[in-house]
Amino acid sequence: VEERGHGGAAFDPLDFDVRSEVHDPATVVAVRGEVDMNTAPRLEETLLAACDAAPQSLVLDLCEVEFIDSSALRVIILAAERLETSGRRLHVACAAGPIRRLLELTGVAVMVEIHENGARAIAAAT
């Protein structure tokens, strides 16, 4: 229960979307909107399920994401670490901008492979 602020209802659920699509042999998890404390659990569920489905390569497409906070970083780290146990890397599509800067600033960028856009990420991943 949020006591202050707009809570999630006014913004997040409407803005946020995450879907997982198979582009054989890669799986692409595409996210849209804002990933924060309210929406990160949905990203976690989808992304970790995609990791466990063990595709040859996994792409996280953040090109349509407007905002992420540390709860999103946590999910990306967990996914990267989960893939790493089987020798795989998480490919992240993310154009230059504040989100990419945050990935770099927090050290998450070195745990994943970053690409300019989804097509390049899929090409690199497969």
Binding site: G5, G7, D36, S70, S71, L73, I77, G107, V108
Partner: protein, 262 residues
């Protein structure tokens, strides 16, 4: 906060029980929150400190905290951190970070060493707790004659801002990664002199990422507000910054630590 128990109504369940549980939950949350914060801020000769922690929720403690204490007679540490997630688990990790920092400081470690210690503690903690990471900014100030030396280390955290002579210096150089990623991580630091009128600001992203009409507040707005208010007292600066989110509405906890040299 005490709950009055009235035997005549206590057993009627429903609304009364819900109300009582809610008040107890808020009480526990408040106690947990207070246990993460210093009971009082230290007195630093020729300087003022002010702190704010504005919670987004009364019933759910988050992983933000600040700390400030004297390491030696003329040396103090300012600390601000943000643990991922919320609830008692995040508060437990925040407590771990807080005492890792205090222990490291008491052993004579400098800010990069303190960050490295806290990093190892968070990394090891991930084996026992839910996966939690933290961001941290540590600033050590030591008196040097009439001025202060400031040494800061930042780990995955927004930059420490310095307002001096109407300008902002962003301490972005060599920020380290989030705590808990790599147990062998080393951290860097930057040092500077602080003279009369200079202000150092440590804050969590609950401030810079607070929602405003049409988007998020942003670091530029924080910097601009810091310059606008830098001639005021530390308390007034902290209040002005905490008041930046439109209508005081926040969706994430907002923590601010201001040091002003007189």
């Amino acid at each position: 906060m005490a709950v009055r128990r009235d035997p005549a109504t206590a057993s009627h369940g429903g609304f009364e029980d819900e109300h009582r549980l809610r008040i107890e939950s808020e009480t526990i949350t408040e106690l947990l929150r207070q246990s993460l914060l210093p009971a009082r801020l230290p007195e630093i000769p020729r300087a003022e400190i002010a702190a704010r922690l504005e919670s987004a929720s009364r019933v759910n403690v988050s992983g933000d905290f600040y700390d400030c204490f004297a390491v030696e007679e003329d040396r103090w540490l300012l600390v601000i951190a943000d643990v991922t997630g919320k609830g008692p688990g995040a508060a437990a990790t925040a407590s771990m970070v807080r005492y890792a920092v205090r222990t490291a400081a008491s052993e004579g470690q400098n800010p990069p060493q303190i960050a490295a210690t806290a990093n190892r503690v968070v990394y090891l903690g991930r084996a026992d707790t839910a996966d939690r990471f933290a961001t941290l900014a540590v600033a050590e100030i030591s008196a040097v004659g009439e001025e202060f030396n400031l040494q800061t280390t930042v780990a995955g955290h927004p930059p420490v801002l310095l307002a001096s002579g109407g300008e902002i210096a962003r301490w972005l150089a060599a920020p380290g990664p989030l705590l808990g990623l790599n147990p062998d991580q080393r951290f860097k630091s930057r040092s500077s002199r602080l003279g009369a009128g200079d202000v150092a600001l440590l804050y969590t992203d609950g401030l810079s990422e607070a929602r405003i009409a049409g988007g998020r507040l942003g670091e530029e707005a924080v910097s601009a507000a810091l310059i606008d208010h830098s001639a005021e007292s530390a308390e007034a600066i902290a209040s002005a910054l905490a008041g930046l989110p439109a209508g005081g509405q926040i969706t994430d906890d907002l923590t601010i630590l201001v040091l002003k040299v007189n």
